[in-house]
Symmetry: C2
Subunit: 363 residues, 2 copies
């Protein structure tokens, strides 16, 4: 990978530019706001600013679309139409975007590998950008039945260059998970802050008393609100379902307090503590790796099936390719994954689906 085009040079786009440039990749930026692109250029996030998409994409290995949720599908289509080899995006919602691109360009959608880096910052725009923003973060890719293996490999490589770990998940599955771990928490934090601040005369004292726990919980509420209306509309059903589940659970917690159920309160918080303490830490490049080889039929959907099986077990995909057999009709899917106890589970799941995986531990 030698040349990447970033469309949208805000916090995420500029951070990608900084990270890729540090690794020696040439990064060209496009932004409908020329001042923002110039800011990103001045920050060192870009090698050059291109006046428009068609001029920029022809020589790019990957086009990264980092524009607001509502604009992503149109920009992806424009990039595909301009002849982009591979296109990815970074939006917080995946299924509507993937569906829109497939509907608009069924013959070109194979070159679009949608993605979502699970990292961010309370800061806005290129000023908040950092080359290490994605280091050891999880970066979701959402391959579909039609995804081209070479396009997937190119995007996976870009993500790896930024130091992030790739987890493959189906688009709809991503949206459900993102609602629970990102969208619902954001709304919950904003609402908590709003309730605490709404105390009128007590406001000043209340906020004086806000200590570390409250500050931690509401930190994301200080982020830029402008992206959230689009996200909430695009992922409405999953967010409403997630909020309903949370409201139900919080109502149950309220009843534990109202009835003075000490054992119930303790059990809830013990479960939460165990779960919080088991949150995986990003393992970065120190993780031991395993190379899995899976003979596969040369047909659509194999990539999405195998990678999302791994993603469903929380396994990151450190490298990936499909080696096609010279006789045709068959190939070998080679996937390097982080070593964990789940690799055995992945082999079992693959075997149950008729595959015959094998693996080797890498030094």
């Amino acid at each position: 990978m030698t040349r990447v085009v970033v469309v949208g040079t805000g916090l995420i786009g500029a951070s990608i530019g900084l990270g890729l440039r540090r690794a020696g990749v040439t990064v060209v930026g496009v932004d409908r706001d020329p001042a923002r692109a110039e800011h990103a250029l001045a920050r060192g996030a870009l090698d050059a600013v291109a006046p428009g998409l068609p001029e920029a994409v022809s020589q790019a290995d990957v086009v990264v679309v980092a524009v607001p949720v509502d604009a992503v599908a149109d920009v992806v289509v424009a990039a595909l139409d301009a002849g982009a080899a591979t296109v990815t995006d970074v939006a917080s919602v995946k299924a509507p975007i993937v569906a829109a691109v497939q509907a608009a360009r069924p013959e070109r959608a194979a070159r679009f590998v949608a993605g979502h880096p699970m990292a961010g910052s309370e800061q806005d725009g290129p000023a908040g950008a950092h080359p290490d923003l994605f280091l050891a973060a999880t970066w979701v890719l959402t391959p579909t039945e039609g995804t081209d293996p070479d396009a997937f490999r190119a995007v996976r490589s870009l993500v790896g260059t930024l130091g992030a770990e790739v987890v493959a998940v189906a688009p709809e599955h991503h949206d459900t998970l993102a609602a629970v771990v990102s969208h619902v928490p954001h709304l919950a934090a904003g609402t908590l802050m709003d309730v605490a601040a709404g105390g009128g005369e007590q406001h000043a004292t209340m906020l004086r008393l806000a200590a570390g726990g409250f500050r931690d919980m509401t930190r994301i509420a200080s982020g830029d609100p402008h992206i959230w209306p689009d996200i909430c509309v695009a992922n409405r059903d999953a967010i409403v379902a997630g909020l309903d589940e949370y409201l139900g659970a919080l109502g149950a917690a309220r009843d534990l307090v109202a009835t003075g159920d000490r054992a119930g309160i303790r059990a809830l918080l013990e479960r939460a503590r165990a779960a919080r303490r088991s949150l995986p830490m990003g393992t970065g490049t120190d993780e031991a790796l395993v190379e899995m080889r899976v003979p596969v039929p040369d047909r659509p959907g194999v990539l999405a099936e195998v990678t999302t099986l791994a993603g469903g077990l929380g396994i990151n995909i450190a490298d990936f390719e499909i080696a096609h057999s010279v006789e045709g009709g068959r190939g070998v899917l080679v996937m390097v994954v982080g070593e964990s106890s789940r690799v055995g589970d992945l082999e079992t799941a693959l075997s149950e689906r008729g595959y015959h995986p094998s693996h080797t531990r890498l030094a």
Copy 2:
């Protein structure tokens, strides 16, 4: 202040010991668990371990009761009965403790100044203790009509030695505020973590996707659950009211999403962002100070009235004394407070109550 007794040598008690000893104060520890007291001694949080309360308190300037909520009132009464000059505590709930001590020892309760440091850690016990745990934190004191000015001054001085800022609040008011900024957020974080972890097969992927915002929001859920059943029972009404308000607000946010109300979502998050960004940062010792002098009648309740008026405006009390007139019946309350735009509001509020305050800016 030269000698302090700390009863209960867990995270908070041991942190107080470390901070006071660093400032040259002799700290004697008492704990019903001898192993924990020895651990705190080994950590350098204590000069000595006393076998029991009566042996320890006679020469102490202040007794700090840092035991679980349910045990505080009994230990405070025991310390007062053993002749302690001044007693304070650090529990998360104040009104039931203050009421219990007043009911049990009406003639001695003037020497008990209840308190609550708004600081903590996810770690447990003396192992997690740190001398800077309270640096620039807010430490609530809850004086009442009967509070002795010398006792208040002694506790304020102890808190100042630890680097914290004193905000005075009535006990019931504290409990309402603590529910909103501490108890409800703790339960909300625990419940959010529990919901996210309850996804069964999706668990591993879900937790893989949990990024900084989710980690921030659920950090307090990794704390020790054992103190929470007592807190929830002791402050039940305020916590239930706070949870009901939060549930109502979160339900309204859910409806904004369900109806695709972009403007409403944006307005909510704009309000939250503004409030989060206005959270006061601890100002520590760099804050400019103002000395207020308030001629006061020599009667009970003046201390509580004046200090909680300041607390209601979020003003910290950096120093405090009541100088009694030699003629008797009158005195001057001298209070050093952090300089802020609210000092004028405090003077107005005092004037409305018939006081005649004046102030001087300190260098």
